[in-house]
C-alpha cells in the first residue's frame, strides 16, 4: 500500500485515481475524495486564467509531511494527493485528495485535514487574471481558522 504524492502540470484523471483507491484494499470500505477546481469568481472578482507558482525543492517535502501527519493521526488505508502547477483555465482541476479507511469518519477527517494543511503550509501561490488585471491571490483567514481546528488552538 503505497501513497501517491505528485506535483504536475498535466491534468489528472479523477476516475483512474478513484479506481486506484478502490482497488487498494477490501478492508477499507470508506473512500473520500476532494477536488478543487478553478472558479469563475474569487474574492469578489471575475477570474479568467490562473497561474500556479510553487517552490519545487520544498513542495514534495511539504506534501509528504502533511500526508505523514494525516496517516499518524487516523487509521487510513491509501492516500493520493496531487497538486497541479503552471497555467490553468476556468473549470480546470487544481488539486485532488483521496483517502480510504475502514471508517467513514476517519476518511472524511483525514481528507479534510490534508486540505486544511495544504492550504496553509504547502508552498503554492496563485496569480489570477481578473477583470482588473493580474493579481496575486491573498490568503484567506478562514484557511488559518480551518487548520487551527486540528491543533485545538482555535
Amino acid at each position: 500500500m503505497s501513497d501517491v504524492i505528485a506535483v504536475q502540470t498535466e491534468d489528472f484523471d479523477h476516475s483512474a485515481l478513484y479506481n486506484a483507491l478502490r482497488q487498494d484494499s477490501l478492508s477499507n470500505g470508506a473512500i473520500v475524495t476532494f477536488s478543487g477546481l478553478v472558479r469563475d469568481f474569487n474574492q469578489g472578482l471575475a477570474v479568467g486564467d490562473l497561474f500556479l507558482e510553487h517552490y519545487p525543492a520544498m513542495t514534495q517535502i511539504s506534501l509528504q509531511q502533511i500526508v505523514a501527519q494525516a496517516r499518524a493521526r487516523w487509521g487510513l488505508g491509501k492516500i493520493i494527493l496531487i497538486h497541479r502547477v503552471g497555467h490553468l483555465a476556468q473549470g480546470d482541476q487544481i488539486v485532488f485528495v483521496g483517502v480510504t479507511s475502514m471508517h467513514r469518519k476517519a476518511a472524511f477527517e483525514g481528507a479534510q485535514f490534508i486540505m486544511d494543511y495544504l492550504k496553509t503550509e504547502a508552498p503554492f501561490w496563485k496569480k489570477e487574471s481578473t477583470e482588473l488585471g493580474d493579481k496575486w491571490v491573498q490568503a484567506n483567514v478562514s484557511d488559518t481558522t480551518a487548520r487551527q481546528r486540528w491543533t485545538g488552538d482555535e
Binding site: 478543487g36 500556479l52 507558482e53 510553487h54 517552490y55 525543492a57 520544498m58 517535502i61 511539504s62 497538486h83 487544481i94 488539486v95 486540505m115 495544504l118 492550504k119 496553509t120 503550509e121 504547502a122 508552498p123 503554492f124 501561490w125 496563485k126 496575486w136 491571490v137 491573498q138 490568503a139
Partner: protein, 81 residues
C-alpha cells in the same frame, strides 16, 4: 554563502527571484538585516508579519540558525489548493 529565494507576490516586490549572500550570517534575523542593509526598500516586505521563511525547505523563523550553504526562502502566505 547563503542562497536566498523569493516566491509569490514577494518576488515581485523585491524584484528578484534569488540572490546570494556571501558574508556569514548567524540566523534568519541576521540575514534579513544584511539584506536590508544592501536593499533598504526591502525592509517593509521582509519585516511584514505575514512573510514566511523556510530554511533548507522547512518552515523556520527569525531564530533559525544558518550555516554556509543553506538555502533560505522568503514568501507570503501560501494560496494553493
Amino acid at each position: 554563502m547563503i542562497k536566498v529565494l523569493f516566491f509569490g507576490q514577494l518576488k515581485d516586490q523585491v524584484q528578484t527571484g534569488s540572490i546570494e549572500v556571501a558574508q556569514s550570517v548567524e540566523d534568519v534575523a541576521n540575514l534579513k538585516k544584511t539584506l536590508v542593509l544592501y536593499h533598504p526598500q526591502w525592509s517593509e516586505y521582509l519585516s511584514a508579519d505575514s512573510t514566511l521563511v523556510a530554511v533548507n525547505q522547512t518552515i523556520g523563523n527569525e531564530n533559525t540558525l544558518l550555516t554556509d550553504g543553506d538555502e533560505v526562502a522568503f514568501f507570503p502566505p501560501v494560496t494553493g489548493g
